[in-house]
Amino acid sequence: MFRLTYLGPALAVLLLAGPVGFGLAGTVLPAFGISPGFGGGSFGLHYFRELFAQPALFCSITLSLTSGLASAVLSLLIVMLFTAAFAGTATFRRMQHLLGPLLSLPHAAAALAIAFLVAPSGMIMRLISPELTGWERPPDLLIVHDPLALSMIGALVAKEVPFLLLMTLAALPQAPVERVRQLTGALGYGRVAGFIHGAWPGIYRQIRLPVFAVIAFASSNVEVALILGPTQPQTLAARLVTWMSDPDLSQRYLASAGALLQLGVTGLAFAIWLGLERLCAALRNKAACGGLRMRRDRAVQVVSLTAMILAAGAIFAGLAALAVWSFAGLWQFPDFLPGSFTLRNWMKALPRVVEPLGTTLTIGVASAFIAAILSVLCFVHEDRTGKRAGRGGQALIYLPLIVPQVTFIFGLQFLLVASGWLATLPALLFAHLVFVMPYAYLCLKDPWRSFDRRYEQVAAGLGKSPMTTLFRIRLPMMLRPLLVLFAIGFSVSVGLYLPTVLIGAGRLTTITSEAVALASGGNRRIIGVYAFFQMLLPVAGFAIATLVPALIFRRFRGMQV
């Protein structure tokens, strides 16, 4: 049976490349009017003509492009400067612990948190009204859904900063940060300048794929755009989903053409980013050749720390506001706290929560479990053959994260409709697995490879088969990283919005898809309940991942962290 480990990489490749490939095909062909088994389309470019005749299309494109790039630039800049100023300090470690939980929070929950904070009747306004503003009623300001997409960019930055910081953290051990600091310090360079010249290029090379994943997500996401983004017009991806969900099937050809356009927009964002990379490298070289020391970088420290605290603080404060809303009775503007607390919102919402909660748990647990097994098989195979995934393999892992979801999930939906699998649990599980798998694999990679393989040699010398060694030695000793993988996979699945909406087709819903659907309705008490579950589920996953090994191995000090 050990010979079957090649199934691991084979299935993983199939799982990662298959849906993207077939999904893209299922998107591209209808855009030109080709749709076997559907009918109604006619071959030609007229769907693109129809697409470009849509009102304010270029405005939507510009919004997608600028908000995608702006959130990527800002979050990377914050992470870079913060790492430059604080790597190796206690502040850095504290921030890392503070931001850790935010990583597992669904984008939709973060967006809702920001919305509850900055809205005209949100917490900030309540805090300063009426004392500073004189407002007795919520002002008529377009803060949420602002036409420049600032609140959307803000939420994206707040959510991507923890992600990029964690990726940077994983890359730090391979970068000689401390030595570079001493060396450049001795040459008279400031801490930040020394870091950017000496350590950052190596770190950036390692987090490049995650950065592209951020650009892809930010330029094509739907849930943050629906909750916070502009409405007149919406971003391209948000408009796409409207067309995709239109009961009039002819709109689907328009949506296909639009999805292809989205692919182009994200591609353009990548191209611009590549240009920015070159420009920044050139600027850095110029500064290095000029010998600019930049010793007075105190301002950078203050600004980067402030940005970090703002990003984390905004989401935490917003989440707290959401929780309060879910228990709020009468809560008039500009009162900072509700006049009364009640369980009525919960009693009202709970019966409706049960079904999406069940789907969320089923899909989350199953996809995390399957992804864990596939990842383990991949790494066992790697150990057995001594061959590691090359650059191509690495890129493949990121494929579902770098190709905009909306472009290939839509095509996948087409295929599922044709085969009669749409809105079934297996199809939804499969769609989630496509996104859970990359994180599961990446999460297990370092712990698996740093395992001391002499333990396995000792076991073999004791006469134990590879199977016994795997199940009695390796997997138990790696229980902790395996459970972390499980928790991360679960939280990724909980947070997925678009695959749930398109593949669940409204018949299968999760907590996240329901929360986004409710967001437009504006019943804050009910949204608060759903957002509470969005927070609770990932946290529960991580609590289990921490408590279970602590309990099982409470007698064994060598198994504690």
């Binding site: 001594g386 001391d452 002499r454 333990y455 040699q457 000792v458 076991a459 073999a460 010398g461 004791l462 006469g463 134990k464 088969s465 590879p466 060694t469 009695r472 030695i473 138990p476 000793m477 229980l479 191995f553 007698r555 064994f556 000090r557 060598g558 198994m559």
Partner: protein
């Protein structure tokens, strides 16, 4: 090299050559009689541990090896690692951290000894044999360095090995313990009539081992 009779008891390394690309790391023909020690000396990076990997069955695929490994007349060169019964001791004791001391020993005990009581009896006897009686229920992490090394020795002996492969097993022990541990290991090997291959860069190890010493040049 045809004068060596292959059905002799003990460990026979016949015409063993290990290469890394064009470079020859190890080339030797040696016979280690039961209870005897063959010491392989050389600086780190010279390929000493690679030789142990070849005999144990975990040679890194970047190396090419030829020659035969024969134990008590059986050619095990192409056998799976778990069927070679090559007991390993490294410089770290590598006790399984998720099992108690007794759990480690139970794991090593061959499965053909059945029943909890007989197995426990053998484990306790093994603990007594390395002066650790009564420590079976302990978490290995709570033992001292010397105690851990002795548990590792008891573990490997319980698995009924056909030979011992020692990879600098004394180098991390402090001076006083090192002498005791050497004596204990060699005494146990003689008692169980096991051929021993010791890899080290400490001349004192070679001296204590008392057998043949060969030196590998980098």
């Amino acid at each position: 090299m045809t004068d060596i009779v292959t059905d002799k008891a003990g460990l026979l390394l016949q015409d063993v050559v290990i290469r890394h690309g064009e470079r020859v790391l190890v080339a030797l023909t040696q016979h280690v009689a039961p209870g005897e020690v063959l010491t392989v000396m050389g600086p780190s990076g010279a390929g000493k541990s690679t030789l142990l990997g070849f005999i144990g069955g975990f040679l890194d695929p970047v190396f090419d090896a030829e020659g035969r490994v024969i134990v008590d007349g059986d050619d095990i060169t192409d056998a799976a690692p778990e069927t070679r019964h090559a007991g390993l001791l490294f410089q770290d004791p590598l006790l399984f951290p998720h099992m108690s001391v007794a759990g480690n020993l139970m794991f090593a005990l061959p499965a053909d000894i059945r029943g909890h009581m007989p197995r426990m009896a053998l484990v306790n006897e093994a603990l007594r044999g390395v002066d650790l009686e009564g420590l079976g229920e302990r978490d290995p992490e709570t033992l001292s360095g010397g105690q851990k090394a002795r548990v590792a020795l008891a573990r490997v002996l319980l698995s009924r090995p056909r030979m011992l492969l020692l990879d600098e097993p004394f180098s991390k022990l402090d001076q006083a313990l090192r002498g005791q541990m050497r004596e204990l290991v060699f005494a146990k090997a003689r008692e169980s009539r096991l051929p021993v291959l010791l890899v080290t860069h400490d001349p004192a190890d070679a001296q204590a081992a008392g057998g043949t010493t060969i030196t590998i040049e980098p």
